[in-house]
Amino acid sequence: MSSIVCRDISVTYPPQKAPSLKEWALRRGNRAKPFQALTDVNLTIEPGEAFGIVGGNGAGKSTLLRVIAGIIPPTRGEVITRGVLAPIIELGTGFDGELSGRENIFFNGSLLGRSRAFMRRCVEEIIDFSGLTEFIDAPLRTYSTGMVARLAFAVATTIDAEIVLLDEVLAVGDASFYDRCEERIRRFHQTGATIVFVSHDLVSVRELCTRAVWIDHGRVVTIGDANEVADAYEKRMHALPAPAVATV
């Protein structure tokens, strides 16, 4: 049984240009066009795979990840996931400045669907891994950006899951943080979790992923071995010094 199956996924966003009251009342033609974020994406990801998604800005990588996470309903097609999901779309989702670090750990855990009892069992490990033991009961608003990121990453990765969806999380943090992230992702991989990993960074895709897909303008360009996909993508990037950027 595959971990993730995407069948003919298309996603269309309605026109986002806010019409003025006059335009809306007149309902003239030429209204802003809907935006096609994904077109007929087919993917199958097997259990235990580390799967990369590469592509330029606005290519639809994050949209695809969110469709898999059940956040964006597909306009066409279907997606099936098997296993407990941990979507790490953005670090520190739902963090509240007024709550203490500890309270935020519990809140964040509940967002990922983990019970209070479960969080109680792993809270000490999270605090330990974040290295914020002495500040953990201070309100989060007193933390530096880096401290918030460390806490967020600790929560996100200490929570075990069968499918981990990672969206460009390596882009934040310093070098040592980066190393820790990599180590954690490797460990996810070793526990047999399926990892879907969105990144601009081809080096980490090559290092961490077994297979990958390259998405451009919402369509699958190539899918296959991570190194080959990265090569193909790199080649195109060099051919086009200024990659076409679609706006979301």
């Binding site: 309605p14 969110r66 956040i71 309903p73 779309i89 509240d96 899951a161």
Partner: protein, 280 residues
Amino acid sequence: MSIALERDERVVHRYFAGQKTRFLQEWREILQSGHLLYNLVHRDLTVRYKRSILGALWTLLHPLLLTGILVIVFSHIFRFDIEHYEIYLLSGLLPWTFFAQTTVSSMAATAWNGPLMKRVRVPKSIFTLSTTISGLINLAISYLPLVGIMVINGIKFKPAMLFLPVSVAILAVFTFGLSLMLSTISIYFVDVREMFAVALTALMYLTPIIWPLKIVPPRFQQIIQANPLYYFVEMVRIPLHAGIIPSAKLLTVAIVMALASFLFGWLTFRRMSRGFYPHL
């Protein structure tokens, strides 16, 4: 080492085009997110007062101070001929405040948690539900000063007063339904929030909360009674102020409106909530 997950081997999610938000599915997801619901309510109740010195005491002080002001204005300056005016006032003001705060905060909570809905899959009605629950907890706490005032005034306990929770429950269903509808629509049309705030102010004065219905000439009383809030405020007030159970007619009207509100709230949510994403 990571702590081993409570593995449920059959966690299968399937999302497809044209999928409907089903009532039971949504409630099951809310139940599964019980911990999140608890945390949202907890955050609502604590964060609000976290930086204030008196803290949660404000939940008690707010209705007391407001009542103090209104009692001074309305029982000394404009005289209404009501026995125990402060009890009349507070027992009507509390359900009103619950209604007004819950509807407004639901819209705010749903909008504020937009970034959250963009990053995690959560049942989207959970924000309206958590706001309603924290509103109910605040309401329960605000009844303490009212009970105190009743004791000081020498009001004797009457069994009909125990009907209060039933009245509040009916009001809560009505409020939840309307809040769900408003917070759903306001994701698409932010203007709804401003419009509703103005409407609330008008409603506050059109509902017999600080004044008694009998000061209105009989021919206008019907107009006042066309306001749904009249029935809800009356239903919640009567058990405490008059010490009687609300009439069958009053209860029927309130229950029918509460169910209608719940139904329309849900239908609006079902129709519109799947399109939230690009608007969050």
